[in-house]
Subunit: 720 residues, 2 copies
């Protein structure tokens, strides 16, 4: 079923990286620009570089347009486009052709085979105390041309990687299916063994795959995960088609791979084996990263039929949702008959890659990525981001055509198989690991572009100030004369521009966790209750969330500017003093988490972090002074400084990796399997496992890392 | 309609207080009791008093019984018994006869005329966009014999003191009807003038009368207050008859007098005038403490009809309730036709008063009160408390009969008209003000006795430790061998026995706020969603909340013991160091509340509070040492010390009272009109009114009060 590729692809990117060095030959020509105003400064730029930068920024910001953006989005969302589907390969060609048209270089596919899953047919019915077949489909709304999808009976909602199975069992309700929720069921004496566990998708997000895993590991026969109206439906506000929240029939599709069991290590083909003739067959033992019990997603309209008849104890505090009756835990008397027919196969994940080669530091890569594959139409997730990436490509291409070429190389990546496995980005990182370790500067991720006006940016701490400063340079459509930063402050509850720490769960994961690259993840938030459902489509985006695509275009402008600055600064705008502070806070947090009864004290690590903080603060002051002066900087020395600065983030990794997840090599940040934040993951996991004797070694790794960072800063400061 | 009283009543209690002095002649006889164990101590008792106290406590605790308690409760809840109803006068006789039977002394009625209101007929219908008459009645459940009430068409739910009126108007939803909610409507540009404002009864409780007042003062045409399922219905847990929460049709009746306009000052007859022939007629100008717009309470079943059709903007965050659709603010298109026919009349509030006269300090009064009047059956509120008070009376009477007579006089009061006006308790306090100022020791209030197992005690801070200690002496039915205190700790979220500060809203208000008496307010909590509805009845209590009346009997035991200890201690168990600490915390809180922009600093008051804290701590240490020694105490000196200690709470009042509420004379505590806590009310209100120049004078009053307290303690300590 996989369409033949029509453009040469490169399995391993380093094969083509060599010729990027050619980029250094290009010259700038900006003779007639007006003098730069005295007051304008951008961190990381010498005064002598400012005029060109400001001229080019003006151009960059002027390119993204609502009209073009809308045309991209319409095309991208015209049909469902899951990983491995004909339509998604077709869209890879569209992205490639845009990149080419906009003048980007080295445009190519990067393909990797992977195991993918799809729903084929489905029956869910209640058999006790009443017999009722559940709808398991989303309702059409005729003015939305895309909403008749389920008229085709081959369209079934599913959890990717859930095995096919037929079971009938009593139902137990387990709230959000978190570890705490299952512990509460234990306290209540409710057995889930042999039962179908119904859980709600939760808010804040908690990974659905871990819910199923917890049910499976306690012997459950099957799992149902439904969208409670309290989390994303009428309880939150107006529902589709009147508003952005989920209507009664909306269903959240999703993958449930047990990724903590082998992410980045297990082959993407899992236990499938390649035959002599190039075909793939399933191996004898199902990989342990794949679920073994059937699981389905469900609307609250269907779930309501089950939950309203469930008996047993009334739910504990906090478990009641938004349906109009008292929730009960069960088990029974409700019995459900589940007949899940899913299919799995090997197909190619296809990334589309393009570059804008740099001049002075062409070896250095500033990367931006967004995934293309969608559960269904992907109006917001991810096609809004893909459309934005294309507008960024157009802006960068235009700048190059008009004579502005960046100092460093910019890479644009359109990933595949994010929804399934974070597969496209991870496979590319693995294939380019050596190069990235050496020359990766920053990775900027854009999954969904904009569901509303509220900028939401996360990053490794060294980039937080950079993000704030760049947000000041992009106009916000809701504030006449005001910037994204102004709106950020205004819409934040704390009245400050908070930059979240990030720990994985989308395509920056491999960059940050495995390579130790500085990362940014960004979006513009608004109310959004149709995640992974049919209603996340063009109608939703263009009529409800962002008519005129004002926020989405703003997002494209900001992303373009972020890349343009990161690719052009004389000195990288990284503030490691913030990183050292975050590390200190993380150490204190984990000390509190540990005790009592067992109290741990990480004084040595704290002292090393304070040394780092001191070195970094001094350096930042010195660098600011230097950049503000009229001094010029030897280009080779600048490159050396930037390499040293890049190296610092790398120092925050440790080759050994986490005990049970060796791909995760970062010392400060990791996601838990639920995707909650796990600070200082090695120590975090040692505490959880009560492996106290390992902690001194992990503390020593922190000391080494912080001292390396201090040393690198000292070396850098000698370059001025 | 008011039944003639058949027992002599005394309008002013001091008329009979004189002969209490006779009580001192009674002698104890306890020759054969075993020696007191060395380890047993009770704060406030000399070692030489302990044996008798422990013997009598054992007896006191043994009296309250489930059987007797249940018999009282069944009789009390047999019929609705609002203030002024024939049944409520009948119950006054029942209480009187019990007091007499149990051997209490000076049993009498205390009557005061008051304006009372009742519903006569009611029509509520939606006229737009659909025509529908709302049910405005609670559904019967045949196994509950009391639940057929609304079959009688003369039974209509109502808000007491809402005027009769007929209106038709568009509807606006105003969430909980708090000042913040109306401010939010302003921000949204939603006009309530001429509209019917629908608001929810809220959780935590906010006074319904103030909701109506805010709507009225913004020009609303009428008000509806409904019970949202998120606050007390299915969202919270199982509903009647399966559980304790409110079923869809339950309606919370209630009074809505604007009590902050004249509480304790305005006559209870308001603008009604007594004629020569003794009849009452309404005066020409309706008192401003009475509402001028019609208002009705409503079930969520009926409210759902209105709310589901309301349009306009979706509600702001936090306003969505538990009904299964997105709430909207309006106005319209829903129009409601309200036809309210309420009747008002003057009738007698009838308190039932009895005493157990004291021996050594017969002039000193330890008082316990509970109200008798109920909105309907009053299963929990207040008949559970009345039944408990009767069991306390039986326990005290038995103790006296067996030769134990308390050191101080105990007064038991069964108040009337709490639901309407806090009328019975307030009128009695006014009639006995001089005596109470001189000799009132402590007032202990019991409104509802027990809806569940969780002890919930509040008090003026000086009594918090006493409350904790006494809770240790009463067994808790859920913990074999454990005490109420043990359960208190276990069921509290903080793991400590928290004693709330109290500010009024039930019958202790006049005692604390006007007299400055130390107060305790107590109950045993459990889930309770039928407040002020027909379902708060015997069935609810005996089948759902407390089968076997285990918690209610425990409550009676604890109340009896509290009274018995307060009436018997050699030295009153008041810890003013806690009071000083609370005062300091209150000052710091109000300093924070004030600024910025206007920052106030109350350093002088804080210093005075610290002086008080020091004196009190020293005294408490000294007193403990003295009581633990084998020293004996001259009875006259003990009385002198106790008078001084009582005087300290009085020092926390100021005769002038609050600017707009002169009956409220307490310097530290008052309720806001919403019944939220208002700490340091004079300063609180000056800040709200921006009357900054008054604050120094109010601070001076605090300084004086705290210094008076310090001085009284110094004088007391000279008595040892």
């Amino acid at each position: 079923m996989i369409k033949q590729k029509v453009f040469p692809t490169y399995g391993v990117f380093p094969q083509v990286a060599g010729w990027l060095i050619l980029g250094g030959l290009f010259f700038l020509s900006n003779c007639s620009a007006p003098p730069v105003q005295e007051t304008v400064k951008i961190s990381g730029f010498l005064r002598s570089s400012l005029r060109t930068q400001l001229d080019s920024e003006k151009l960059i910001l002027s390119i993204p347009s609502s009209q073009q953006y809308g045309a991209h989005l319409l095309y991208l969302t015209e049909e469902p486009h899951q990983t491995g589907s004909p339509r998604n390969y077709k869209l890879a060609e569209y992205v490639r052709d845009c990149f080419l048209e906009y003048g980007l270089e080295n445009v190519h596919f990067h393909d990797t085979p992977a195991l993918l899953g799809y729903g084929r047919s489905l029956l869910v019915e209640m058999t006790e105390p009443e017999k009722k077949r559940l709808k398991m489909a989303e309702d059409p709304y005729p003015p939305d041309k895309d909403s008749g999808l389920y008229a085709d009976p081959s369209v079934v909602p599913y959890h990717e990687y859930a095995p096919s199975a037929e079971i009938t069992a009593e139902v137990v309700y387990a709230n959000g299916g978190s570890p705490e929720d299952f512990a509460e069921l234990d306290r209540l004496g409710i057995e889930v063994k042999g039962k179908i566990v119904i859980m709600r998708y939760s808010n804040p997000y908690s990974y659905r795959g871990y819910k199923v895993y917890l049910a499976e590991s306690r012997g459950a026969a099957g799992a149902i995960i439904y969208s409670d109206p309290q989390d994303d439906g009428f309880f939150r506000g107006e529902t589709y088609p009147q508003g952005p929240w989920g209507p009664p029939s909306h269903i959240q599709w999703g993958g449930i791979v047990y990724d903590w069991f082998g992410f980045g290590i297990t082959p993407f083909t899992f236990h499938w084996q390649k035959q002599e003739d190039g075909t793939w067959v399933e191996g004898p033992v199902r990989d342990r990263a794949l679920p073994r019990i059937p699981s389905v997603p469900m609307s609250h309209e269907d779930a309501s039929e089950i939950l309203r008849l469930l008996k047993g104890p009334a739910v504990p505090e906090g478990w009641q949702g938004g349906l109009p009756f008292t929730y009960h835990v069960g088990p029974g008397p409700v019995k459900v008959h589940l007949k899940v027919d899913n299919v799995e196969k090997i197909a190619l994940m296809r990334n589309v890659i393009a570059i804008v080669r740099g001049t002075r530091e062409p070896d250095k890569w500033v990367i931006a990525g967004n995934h293309r594959d969608a559960w269904i139409y992907g109006g917001l997730d991810p096609s809004s981001g893909t459309a934005a990436l294309l507008e960024v490509a157009r802006a960068l291409g235009t700048a190059v055509k008009q004579g502005f070429r960046p100092r460093r190389t910019i890479i644009l990546a359109n990933w595949d198989a994010e929804e399934d496995l974070l597969g496209g980005s991870t496979s590319w990182v693995k294939d380019n690991r050596t190069k990235l370790l050496q020359d990766g500067v920053v990775y900027v991720n854009l999954d969904s572009a904009a569901s509303g006006p509220d900028f939401d940016g996360g990053s490794t701490p060294a980039l937080a100030d950079f993000l704030r400063e760049t947000a000041k340079a992009v106009p916000h459509p809701d504030i006449p004369g005001g910037s994204v930063y102004d709106h950020w402050i205004k819409s934040s509850k704390s009245g400050t521009a908070e930059v979240a720490e990030i720990v994985g769960a989308t395509d920056y994961t491999a960059f940050q966790e495995n390579i130790g690259m500085s990362c940014i993840d960004m979006t513009f938030d608004g109310p959004y209750g149709v995640y992974h459902s049919m209603y996340d489509n063009y109608f939703w985006m263009s009529r409800i969330a962002d008519p005129g695509f004002r926020y989405n275009v703003t997002c494209a402008q900001l992303l373009a500017l972020i890349l343009w600055r990161l690719a052009n600064t004389d000195i990288l705008p990284v503030a490691y003093s913030n990183y050292a502070k975050s590390a200190l806070a993380a150490i204190e947090e984990i000390e509190n988490m540990a005790g009592p009864p067992k109290k741990i004290s990480l004084e040595r690590a704290k002292k090393a972090a304070r040394r780092w903080l001191k070195e970094a603060s001094a350096w930042e002051k010195e660098a600011r002074k230097f950049l503000d002066s009229e001094a010029s900087l030897d280009p080779n020395r600048a490159s050396e400084v930037n390499s040293l600065l890049t190296e610092i983030e790398r120092a925050m990794t440790e080759e050994e990796g986490l005990k049970s997840r060796p791909f995760y090599k970062h010392l400060i940040y990791a996601p838990q399997p639920t995707y909650r934040t796990e600070l200082l993951p090695r120590i975090f996991e040692a505490i959880k496992a009560r492996e106290w004797s390992d902690i001194p070694r992990y503390e020593e790794q922190l000391v080494q890392a912080f001292d390396s960072a201090s040393r690198l800063i000292r070396v850098a400061s000698r370059q001025f």
